[in-house]
């Protein structure tokens, strides 16, 4: 454990809103992850150009065809082109992942700031968050979807709700330690208004951990969306999403395993890339965590 002693002393710089990033520290894995993710994002954006077929066009004469020049990865039980469906599936996953990260941060950040600052509010808010965290996120999402019906919007809400407590806890813990700092006390002492103290001095502190947490939320949301679709509680079955493709492929698994393995592979690469980028961001933004390996 000699390494923990040789901690690099960082120069004192004024914290800007975006923490500076040491680009040379990005390793091979993170580069590969960025490339994979970029491909998936482009795939989602330019889906109509990349897809070779209409992803929802059924053709009973072409059921369960093997991979060929006409159908790059073969067809599913309804004669739809698997490759085109996977390409379009990227859209759902990316919307849900990015959407859940943004919404949960947008709701969790103010709640966490308030909880960290006001004692009474803290006690109430944290009890509510503890209760929410006791509900397994999949079950919570399932309950929301089964009540409100299957649509992209309900799935997004269902996935975001269980992530909010994690953001609130994170922001609160940052605020609790930052508010003891001399510069925050000084700001309060010279009479800065509370919103100004929060915005100028506390929010910038939460930014680095929130970026890291945001990437993990994104990965976890994509995973949960796929699980919900797989279980039949996701976006409507007519929408091509990776979970839906696998869900429909289950019945034909022994006959045609590629219906599960191709979307499963793309899904795994997507989540893995986001997780790796999250780990890289964490190491770059908070070198202290690197030695401990961190926790999610």
């Amino acid at each position: 454990m000699a390494t923990s002693v040789e901690r690099r002393v960082e120069p004192v710089v004024r914290r800007r809103f975006l923490p500076t990033i040491d680009v040379q520290g990005i390793g091979f894995a993170a580069t590969l992850a960025s490339i994979c993710l970029l491909i998936i994002i482009l795939m989602g954006i330019f889906a109509p150009l990349i897809a070779t077929h209409d992803p929802i066009l059924m053709d009973p004469t072409q059921r369960l065809k093997p991979a060929s020049n006409a159908f790059l990865l073969g067809t599913d039980a309804y004669g739809r082109d698997l490759f085109s469906r996977i390409v379009y599936g990227a859209r759902i996953s990316l919307i849900v992942g990015v959407g859940a990260a943004i919404i949960s941060v947008a709701i969790g950040l103010p709640l966490g700031l308030l909880a960290g600052f006001f004692r009474i509010l803290d006690a109430i808010l944290m009890r509510i968050m503890d209760g929410l965290m006791a509900i397994p996120s999949i079950l919570l999402a399932i309950a929301v979807v089964s009540l409100a019906g299957a649509s992209l919007w309900t799935v997004l809400v269902a996935i975001t709700i269980p992530e909010i407590p994690r953001v609130v806890r994170l922001v609160r813990s940052v605020v609790l330690s930052a508010r003891e700092e001399p510069y925050v006390e000084a700001a309060i002492a010279v009479g800065s208004s509370l919103p100004k103290v929060m915005w100028r001095h506390l929010v910038p502190n939460t930014l680095a951990p929130l970026i890291v947490q945001g990437t993990y939320i994104c990965a976890s949301a994509i995973l949960i969306e796929a699980i919900l679709s797989f279980l039949g509680a996701g976006v409507g079955t007519e929408t091509p999403s990776w979970g839906n493709i696998m869900s429909e492929g289950r019945v034909y698994f022994q006959l045609k395993p590629s219906l599960i393995f191709w979307p499963g592979l793309v899904l795994s690469i997507c989540i893995l890339s986001i997780n790796l980028l999250g780990d890289t961001a964490r190491d770059l933004l908070d070198p202290r965590l690197k030695q401990r390996g961190g926790e999610k």
Partner: protein, 313 residues
């Protein structure tokens, strides 16, 4: 110590109250008529009226909540809309497969992930460490059902070693039980192993830097004894905490794993309830699993006092 136990037990009550309130409000705050949501599109007016009466929907909302909680406390979780059986009966019928699968999973997780984490911390920065950390990122990233299908493909279809799907009760013998339960348990354990291996490594890294570890090594103790008796015992508290919080991950995994492997447990019950939009069952399952989660974490909190004699309350 008794005071601490009492305080921890009391602290679990507001958590469960929030869970109950949330589940209660979820149905009432969803736009639309709750009875119509529950009954589905094909419901007749009589069915709607029956649901309104059983849920007490014509009463003011605070009265509804009080009667609902009173029923919960007396063990009445409502009646399934699909089979008309009490939700508690449905849950208790499905408990055995899920509990035996969960116990096997936790056993596998601990015997695999703790040594992984200890090794990684012991050889910190080496290729072993890198392998363990990479395996852990993979475990977090590959969805449970994909791992399940990969295992089925390799061990059941290609090698023909194990049955593809299904469940055999442990009362019919340990070997038949293990034959069918080992693949689902490994599937379920994948994400849990990733989590606990990471946490074990982190906790061990902290402990291995302590003075008493250096002293133990300096006086020439066997490295195994240093690692497992001096270090691991002191790292046990954070590891145990994560085993508790990771339990929520496992519940989510159970739902998926049981439908991949066709196991008639709580997970199958959940999926059947989703497909039939059987809200009373989903509600009962949420309350039940959240209760188990709170209970397990309570027990873990209480066990710290025994695990670590330094902790005094």
């Amino acid at each position: 110590m008794f005071g601490y136990f009492l305080r921890r037990i009391l602290a679990a009550i507001p958590v469960m109250a929030v869970v109950a309130l949330f589940v209660f409000l979820l149905l009432r705050l969803t736009p639309g008529d709750p009875a119509a949501i529950i009954a589905g599109d094909m419901a007749t007016p009589e069915q709607l009226e029956r649901i309104r009466v059983t849920l007490g929907l014509h009463q003011p909302i605070h009265v509804q909540f009080i009667t609902w909680v009173q029923r919960l406390l007396s063990g009445d979780f409502g009646v399934s809309l699909l089979s008309n059986k009490p939700v508690t009966t449905l849950i208790s019928q499905r408990l055995e497969p899920t509990i035996s699968l969960a116990l096997l999973t936790i056993f596998l997780t601990i015997i695999i992930s703790v040594p992984m984490g200890v090794l990684a911390a012991w050889r910190h920065g080496s290729w072993i460490d890198n392998m363990v950390m990479s395996a852990s990122v993979l475990g977090f990233s590959i969805p449970v059902f994909v791992i399940g299908y990969i295992l089925i493909q390799i061990f059941a279809l290609n090698l023909g070693l194990l049955p593809v799907q299904g469940f055999t009760s442990i009362s019919k013998g340990v070997v038949p039980f293990l034959e069918r339960a080992i693949l689902p348990a490994l599937t379920l354990a994948s994400i849990y192993i990733a989590l606990i291996a990471r946490m074990t490594r982190a906790a061990m890294l902290d402990v291995l830097g302590e003075d008493y570890v250096r002293t133990a090594r300096a006086k020439g103790l066997d490295e195994k004894i240093v690692l497992f008796r001096h270090a691991l015992r002191n790292a046990a508290v954070p590891i145990l905490t994560v085993i508790g919080t990771g339990f929520a991950l496992m519940i989510s995994g159970v739902v998926v794993t049981e439908s991949v492997f066709n196991i008639p447990g709580l997970g199958r019950l959940t999926v059947d309830a989703i497909l039939a939009r059987d809200y009373p069952v989903i509600q009962g399952l949420i309350l039940f699993t959240s209760g188990i989660y709170v209970l397990i974490n309570l027990l873990i909190d209480l066990s710290y006092a025994f695990l670590d004699p330094r902790i005094r309350y």
